[in-house]
Symmetry: D4
Subunit: 215 residues, 8 copies
């Protein structure tokens, strides 16, 4: 086969391997999803970063798969019952694909996602109106591009575990998200965690693991 | 002499030349201040970025000079009567030297400075309490380090001309202020202007020129 | 809807929200322009960074819109009567799209734009011939790529509020405009303000706000 | 006063403000610690990044404070009873100051720290010997400099929430920790979270918040 | 001709020149391979970085050539009998093209390649199972992208000469392989050598030269 | 000896080796100057980048040496009669050390230096007044820091061979001269040549070689 | 018209303006060439960086133009009789387009180009064989990519004025020519001048100006 | 103890652990050297990067240690009999400390070092005179700063395994050795290996391992 799947990962870490779609042919994606589903029939398995061709082939060959064309994900099998809630908060409309990748990942990794959209800091009232919903979550993911001020503002409003996802969204010279990335790593709010630019998947894995262990 | 002062600058731009203290000996600073004051006796002249030795010599030789040891400035002569008000807003206590350099510059360049301190976004209530004072100014300068979220939040609260000053303040790897700089240039609030890192002087010049022309 | 428009922005900042065309489908652009125009019938609303498809659909569906195919903008509604004049000065012919985006923005945000073209410093006589027109403006925007020497030269000729727009124009290795950007932030003329690379829109918002408050 | 303490932070986030020692005079550190302790007598308050002078003055003026000269921290008051355990794992001996800053923070923020030292990947047997202790923790912090391979290896061995702290430790050209930072953000293990270079404090805050909410 | 081949290189360095396919037309590649083969009929000559068109023309015009469409190489002539063994170890499936370019180069340059695939550190058991095969080689090449932890782990397991090849494989912001490159240059294992990103060819040349001189 | 002087350089290139003072002890500088002077008694030999200790020892041990404490150079022996004139133009007073290093080098390498100071572009009249002197030179060196606009403006005024020396002078974040360097390499005036930041020596060597070959 | 040609440039600098083809439509290129030719009928005018469409239209509409499809240039009119010789030395075959752009420019700007190809330092004998031809030139241009060692080696062999052109040619991660650029600016040979990456035009202008003034 | 020595490393890799002096107190260095010597009495153990205080204490407490104050190393015990020869070639006098660190390391790791100094490419005859000595070595280390042309020139003269050590030596802006580093990684000679900037130790380990396995 084209790859050696790590089928023991679920024993070591509690979660099966995931299919990373970029750089794989559509039939490789389908084959990997199928193999993982067979190895882990009791839960859901996930494929991310699917291009249009991969989405089309998954739809044709795996009709039971749950496809998200905005978040570019496919899920095969039924996610385990969730424990804990993750607020996934997006600053602007352009951050939606990253938010959706995160939401799906949270669900596959065993927690309940709660999506809060378009609450960027240039219109603070929108964020303040959602404050309680965010503060009561078991983990918070804050997705933001440009100058990525949102995680800092949220970090001042809640003590829930908080993961920032910088995105590569910007109007001009932003170095493909470096600006947002540097911002999240230099947040003036204590305890803000971060992942790589646009990595909704990584944030979702971590947030779900935090939430599903919460009391 | 060690330098050729540009004594016609006031005709071309409305303001006399300024003494940049870094890289000058204390006696050069004193000589330059004196020469500028003689050429422009009707108003105030300014020296910036003074080290301890320069401050000491200015105190000894120019007893009429107004010294600010935090902002590292000296002013000789009486500023012209101010027109217009500039709100100079600082995010944290560590930004104070930059705020003070800006405040003094605003005053020398002909506007009234209004200092608002320690209103960083990790405790939003502090900023919201000062909103009217900021919104009613003729120009606003927002001084902030780390991820520099403050200018974006202010830019969503007012349509007054707004200048961000990124500062080189940070807790870890922030590239000597590049993080804050990139943030201000990528603000999600429209029309945020910026100057170089820690450049309270440049922001003060621009803000005063805007305020003193306002109706 | 695909986005939550910030219809209260005009109360907070004096200007309505703007449609940023990049990353939106043509029909999203048209829908957003229409919604903003309905919410703000008394003045003009703006869309920027339109691609060819968006221009075509705006032309077909919003025949009253004012389209600029060089500056990639559309304006719906009649701009309020201007107050104050903004000189928008461009260094080279390749800077024209950024100049035009700025000019349109100035007009929508309530000031009168005055366009001065092709006055780069490699042929100084061209700039010196326009000196009075620039010096008498209420605000100046200087658009320049490559080494971006123009803002510094203008900053030595006038004390009007001055905003530099670095552009991503260059002959060789210029880091997508970083060269010009660093140059404007390190100008030897005091008080030069800057915005992000190619951000004629941001400069136009700020310049109009300065000019329309001027006496 | 020199600073406006955010005494309501404990209500908003569950934890009091912390004194960041860098850039403060020893007497400012002492005054801030004292004020925070008075406002929060029921628990512990923390000061970080103390230089030698600050340590000396804290020792003289606040004899009850708990000082760590390696981690550069001071704690005043008794930490609340811990809930949950955080494994703080260090790759090399040079990472010790960051490990200690993290350990103290974990304790002040309400969880039990469990320190595992000198288990860098160039001698894998040392890490494998500690595997169960790490896997059974409620949160894991992995502190590593140079190429920062440790978090990836740990991420393959456990599904516990995992925070990487890149450190500025290296033998040659490592860009003050950028190398380690980039490594942690590009970990091949899913769900690795990160903080800024050398930010043991930030990792400790986040890890404690995760652990103290765990079941 | 379009190029001046360095036909004396074999006398100076022991190996003939190699055809670098990028930037050459298919017929230039064929002509160069033919000319080198005629000048060095006793051994094998190599072309690297062939695009699809070059592969097609080589197949048509040089039917004796040995083509590798994954590694993008062509070999004409019979490699000399190998001396010494080079373990070429790949971290993930996406690193395969670089591994294959290296394997072919090792063979053309006179050593025996031994390919070990998909042994990334997120599943350590896979690498530990291959330890003896790696440790007994005369030289080791470790190919890895993302955070490139593999060379460090191998460097702790063997004292064989070890060359790391960072690859441009990554999930998010990794600066086209800079992350992996910095990692290999900062390895905590002593004596790790490196080549440029994705440069399987360079590593293969060096490893073969080491192995073929070994006792 | 501590170094192997290249005494045949004068035959190959027309000029003797030069003593680069940085990183040498004062007695090494004196010994090298003396050895070069003995090998080349007919002309002048040069030492650059001397620190205070080296200047003192040269003064004590080589009383015939010509010392420049601003440019940090020493010259031993009489420069050959000059051919051709080099205009060395400095933008600001802080560029003086670089200007002086260049002027001395021009003289030692066989041309006549003509120093023009403090003609930065923020006060254009000063430069325009020196135009003929610059245009009639056989080579021009333009020394400028900050945004380094001067070489472009000069390049529009003359067709004489033109070398830009970016300097590490700036008010804020300028990346130790990278800003000026990028500016000179992206000049909008055709044919601007450049050397490394602060390298007055390199520009002087090249300019003298151009001028002394001119008709 | 689309641009304001600087027809007085020939009086100020001795050479007419040049048409930079990038970013211009084919008909704009043709129009500009024609206009410059009419204004300067006595000599040659030049267009650079022509794409395939521009080449085709120039061929159709300006049959007298001299076209170089490798160097991407067009020349209209007869170059003035040359004075002085410029050796244009290329390291590898991939540097040919830059060499050819330089050669044509030298000719249009009034000197005689002398092309020396494929003499990279990995086969030194080739360069040493051309030493006299290079040393006797009035100016030397050294074009090299990758690590750009060629200019340093040439700079040790001759005292002729020497301009390095770093090129964007490389095998792996070379940052679009930054590697070569940094190398030329840090040459260990004194007096090496440089231009931007791939800027054969700029080097040709400068070299011709040096050569045509030589005795 | 302050550190956990990896006493099994000699079994895994054939060589004992090494004391890295930077960041250790003098008494820690002495203690570590002593402990390693006791664990490995049959051979030599090494400490690198010793500051003046560490050198003094080693001299006082370990009189049998072999100290090199230029290379900043100490050796305790007698190196095993060497097998194979490593040519350690230095470009300039300023590279000497790195050359010496490498030479000592080669000896401790079991091969015979052969030092060739001051053969930079600006005076090629010096290098060509040493060609046979370099070509006949079992491994070659080429140490060079500035533009680091030396490894490429050597790589064209020999097929011996070749390791480049870029150094942080330069005259101006060279980014602390990044220039040399990029150069070595982009060498036009095939098979050049590299280590981190100034890492004479790493190159010495690798070169000795190559040489001692050679026939
Ligand atoms: N969107 C994503 N971003 C980052 N990592 C991912 C993503 N999707 C999957 N992965 C990781 O990629 C691994 C599979 O990689 P591969 O073997 O190349 O398919 C999974 O086990 C995950 O750790
Ligand atoms: N050309 C432009 N450059 C930068 N910002 C813009 C531009 N055009 C619009 N904007 C901003 O983008 C906002 C709308 O963003 P969005 O919600 O994504 O449509 C507007 O309110 C403006 O602040
Ligand atoms: N200020 C300077 N900047 C750059 N290169 C210099 C300078 N001064 C001397 N050099 C060069 O350094 C060489 C001597 O280097 P060294 O052998 O280290 O003394 C001279 O031959 C010059 O090529
Ligand atoms: N290949 C080139 N590289 C850099 N600059 C060039 C090149 N060709 C032309 N130029 C410059 O570009 C100017 C014309 O620019 P434009 O007005 O945009 O056509 C000329 O006068 C030259 O100074
Ligand atoms: Mg929105
Ligand atoms: Mg505060
Ligand atoms: Mg033009
Ligand atoms: Mg250790
Ligand atoms: Mg895999
Ligand atoms: Mg001056
Ligand atoms: Mg060739
Ligand atoms: Mg030397």
């Amino acid at each position: 086969g084209f790859a050696r799947l790590d089928l023991q990962r679920v024993e070591r870490t509690g979660d099966p391997e995931v299919v990373f779609g970029r750089g794989k042919t559509p039939s490789q994606v389908v084959a990997a999803l199928r193999a993982l589903h067979e190895a882990h029939p009791e839960g859901a398995v996930l494929a991310t970063r699917l291009d249009d061709d991969a989405v089309a082939l998954v739809r044709a060959e795996l009709p039971d798969a749950d496809l998200d064309e905005v978040g570019r994900t496919a899920v095969l099998g039924k996610p385990r019952p969730p424990h804990g809630r993750v607020a996934v908060v997006g600053a602007g409309t352009a951050d939606l694909p990253v938010v959706r990748e995160c939401v799906t990942t949270v669900s596959v990794f065993g927690a309940e996602p709660d999506m809060v959209l378009d609450v960027g800091v240039a219109g603070l009232h929108r964020l303040l109106a959602q404050r309680d919903r965010i503060d009561s979550a078991d983990a918070v993911v804050a997705v933001a591009g440009m100058e990525a001020a949102l995680p800092s503002v949220i970090g001042g409003l809640t003590g829930a575990p908080l993961i920032a996802v910088p995105t590569s969204i910007g109007y001009g010279w932003h170095l493909d998200g470096l600006t947002a990335w540097l911002a999240t790593l230099n947040s003036c709010a204590p305890g803000v965690l971060t992942v790589n630019v646009d990595n909704g998947f990584g944030a979702g894995v971590a947030a779900a693991r935090i939430a599903r262990r919460s009391r």
